[in-house]
Symmetry: C4
Subunit: 222 residues, 4 copies
């Protein structure tokens, strides 16, 4: 989805950045979920998380420097800037790389709808998982929390992404609610992607059908 | 919706598979809902359910064998593979057959929008029913369950499919929540189908109207 | 939205049917909401409701008779048949007449989007009101009901139509839930109409804009 | 989005009206949130709120007078009339001015999708904030209120705008619920804007892609 020609730097950094994104998510998950682990392991996780974040920040700083453009660079790459500040959005990097790798390996390109479905599915899974982790970390131990286990948190993330919103388990802390609002916004976008994709696919198939065999009876609204 | 030419095997198996799908759903429903029935009847239901599942698995295995394609067959027919593992998705087979039978009987083809509505309505009813059954089986007897009767379960399934999500009755077990997430995903797709279908139908009708009688006054955004 | 040429009978019955629909809704509302009214008034309301229903049934029967078509008439006019059985859907008659009257009076036709908005708004208001009445009648007096006042019922109907579904007040009786499911289905259709209408309107306006002044900078996905 | 040529009066009033809208929202917010402030400050806020409202009413009256058109003016500018009665909708004025200023300063026009996103984002933020203020003012101090802090109110507004509707905090007073219904309606429109915008953007990008590199393998429905 990135139409600009890539600089050599961006080319070279693709693999390290994706690795850093995977390590970031994995070490964050281990630190949040592995409460029973020895302190040393948890400290190592924190170190990996911080190092991965430093890679993101450095990459952004170097690209900024090399562009020689000042603040207009930040305005053009605001999404990257946001991701430096909120690294839990990094998983989107993985989706981007997945697409680039498919292209490089000259694999048969996926059809339009399959690609939309892949993007939507992968980003929903990764962001939902990241949000569930963040909310679980913030909420657990709160006196009136309804999200008590990581299972509750995943369940809450799914019902939020689908804009169903049962409300049986919800974040109660300000920080948890902030993550929730971001996830809701993403859920709206996801709904837009699914709605647009599904309906357009359906109509393509049906239109092809109708061209081959015109219906004898078109009752209209009847 | 299936564009590939059908093999003779697929042609011959259509009726048995649909029958198996109907028997699977019916015997599963009797077993889940008929708790007061004699043990022999419930055992018979279990046998029918298993036999129907065996038919699905056998059909898939034979088609795989005959294709002579190895794993790429599974990748191409991943939906069929998923259905063998999760046979509660089988009801979709009934929808497919319904369409095929309409064609064979040379009945007047339904219009585009009527067909979308038929697909969406039938699959929503069958999957909603299957999900309500599965969740009811998993949740009943749980200590803190809010879904206590099959009526509760159907009510929950409807509010989930419509992405309304009241949250007065919700699954509380991990397995019940897993079924719920699948139903939510289907609800999103259903929303996409209804949204796309309804709006496109509406615009077709209105556009025809407007071609016949151009409006004297087009206030635009006013 | 009705493309068939109207028979003289349909022409003549338009005013009586609309009046009957209004009287049906009004008398039903008075009977449900006016619990403190003298018994005679409430009996009169019941009589009016029944009479209005008889008018609908008679109209359908006469049109069926005159068509000389047997069951295929019912299949073609299934929406009318459903409305005879579930007269609370009658308010839609009022929307249809409103449009016909506008045409007859040679008023400037509304633009496409204004008409979609009018249909969606009027039918949502009328069906939401009818559903709130029906659910209130069914739920009040139930031991564990959360819908205790008519205000609660209207609030519930609004949150259902918007597919928000807070779940603070929900129907608990099987009949109330049946009405709720119908309202949810209508809410999905409403969402489809609003989504389709709004987005297409937005794009028309923006496209016109873009034709007049081509953007100097099209950052694409950036 | 306003296609009519602007009168000199409208041109001259643009800045004062936007200032008044900003002052209205700010003074209302200070009065609602600043309960610990000295009485004099809160009275000053009330005065500013009233003065801003008077500016809106005067502007509408003068434009009506100058148009020399009687009631048809109100019908054509019904949105302006509604805003005079419900001044909390004024923030939309700010969105309109923002667009006009961008044009005047000859800034590079935003692309279609960026503009939709800007409109949707700004109006959702401003209306959500105004609704959260109004609901908080109405609900606080109510005996059974679940919205107890302004944070709760903002959280409720976000979950309503996204049509998620957890229902953990909801308005319980008739006035609060009236504001909620208005916000739900806006949430539906927002969903329509996001859905339409997102899906159309996605398809533009993908279509351009597909024109450049036709897929070797289009599995269709597979």
């Amino acid at each position: 989805m990135d139409e600009r020609p890539r600089t050599p730097w961006e080319h070279r950094m693709e693999t390290p950045l994706t690795l850093a994104a995977l390590l970031f998510l994995a070490s964050y998950a281990v630190r949040v979920l592995g409460r029973g682990l020895p302190e040393a392991v948890r400290d190592a996780c924190l170190a990996v998380t911080s190092a991965a974040w430093a890679v993101f920040a450095l990459d952004f700083a170097i690209r900024w420097r090399h562009s020689g453009k000042g603040l207009s660079f930040v305005r053009r790459h605001w999404l990257d800037a946001v991701v430096v500040v909120l690294p839990l959005l990094r998983p989107l990097q993985i989706v981007r790389t997945y697409d680039a790798v498919r292209r490089r390996h000259e694999q048969p390109r996926l059809s339009l709808h399959a690609r939309v479905a892949t993007y939507a599915g992968m980003s929903a899974t990764l962001l939902g998982f990241a949000a569930a982790l963040a909310v679980y970390q913030v909420e657990r131990g709160q006196p009136h929390a309804t999200i008590r286990t990581f299972g509750d948190s995943v369940w809450w993330a799914c019902s939020t992404l689908a804009t169903v919103g049962y409300g049986d388990v919800v974040p109660v802390t300000p920080l948890g609610r902030l993550v929730a609002v971001a996830l809701m916004a993403y859920g709206l976008a996801l709904l837009g992607a699914i709605t647009g994709s599904f309906s357009s696919w359906m109509f393509q198939v049906f239109r092809r059908d109708d061209e081959e065999r015109p219906p004898e009876d078109f009752p209209g609204a009847s």
